[in-house]
């Protein structure tokens, strides 16, 4: 099987179109081009890190994507927040996690699931704790600096 590296790669994930600087496609014996689970894992981690690195409202599609990537259920997330599972159904109907505070708590939770083992005990400057946005941005950049995540850029919101 031959690999083909592409310079820019577009991925539809979490209800949005993302751009990555590179990706590897594989040509299978029947001639179809495909993307391996290893490569998808790298790409999805980059997108998850990008979602977690902002303090914007968390859309329901982003929430579902982060659950998929971290192998968490909606119930796990609800339990973490001390909420009833039915609250998640309300988020689904509305299409987003309505409270930014709750959305940011979830982003922190997902980020630590993805990168906490490697970076969870790293010290950060006090300025990183000035706000949710400061912390989430610092954490996201730390994952990129440590080569645990590539950079994914949002190309187009759906």
């Amino acid at each position: 099987m031959k690999n083909r590296n592409v310079r820019t790669h577009q991925v539809f994930a979490a209800g949005q179109l993302w751009l990555l600087e590179s990706a590897t496609l594989t040509v299978l014996p029947d001639g179809s081009e495909a993307i391996s689970a290893t490569e998808l894992n790298r790409i999805h981690k980059a997108i998850a890190n990008a979602i977690c690195g902002t303090a914007d409202h968390l859309s329901f599609e982003e929430f579902e994507f982060l659950c998929d990537i971290t192998e968490s259920t909606f119930s796990n997330a609800a339990v973490y927040l001390g909420l009833n599972k039915s609250t998640v159904s309300t988020w689904r109907r509305r299409g987003l996690v309505p409270s930014k505070l709750v959305g940011n708590a979830l982003k922190r939770w997902f980020w630590f699931k993805l990168f906490g083992d490697s970076l969870g005990k790293q010290s950060l400057p006090i300025s990183a704790f000035a706000s949710d946005l400061a912390f989430l941005e610092t954490a996201s950049q730390a994952a990129i600096r440590a080569n645990l995540s590539d950079k994914a850029v949002l190309k187009q919101a759906s």
Binding site: M1, Q10, V11, F12, A13, A14, G15, L17, L25, T26, L28, P29, D30, S32, E33, A34, I35, S36, A37, T38, L40, N41, H44, E61, F65, C67, D68, I69, E71, T73, F74, S75, S158
Partner: protein
């Protein structure tokens, strides 16, 4: 298929759609939790067969995930698997809430529980 390493399991490169994106994101869940619905021979090549699967929705309700993989063989050993079809009830795709309805659909599409060359 579950014994294959992650660099041997693929998703076919397809046009960008939300459903295709979800197929990629749900690959791990499908591999971990799916039930085989049957096999069918590939149209033209003897070194590959197609496998249909159904995985329940992780939340325990709603449409599950119906997927088809093409399995590639070398000396009767599976060397790679590629997901080429994913239905979850969105974008007018068929949706299956339970294993039985998915099994019925797979049979209608030529998948059999026992495979004969």
């Amino acid at each position: 298929m579950r014994r294959l390493s992650s660099d041997r399991v693929f998703v076919q490169h397809n046009p960008l759609t939300p459903r295709y994106g979800r197929a990629q994101a749900k690959l791990t869940w499908i591999l971990k939790t799916s039930t085989s619905l049957g096999l069918r021979p590939h149209e033209s090549a003897a070194d590959r067969v197609e496998l249909s699967l159904w995985a329940p929705n992780p939340e325990g309700r709603g449409h599950g995930y119906y997927a088809c993989f093409r399995l590639f063989f070398e000396s009767e050993v599976v060397t790679a698997a590629m997901l080429f079809c994913f239905y979850d009830g969105t974008e007018k795709s068929p949706g299956f809430r339970d294993l039985i309805s998915a099994l019925e659909f797979a049979r209608l599409n030529g998948f059999k529980e026992t495979y004969e060359e």
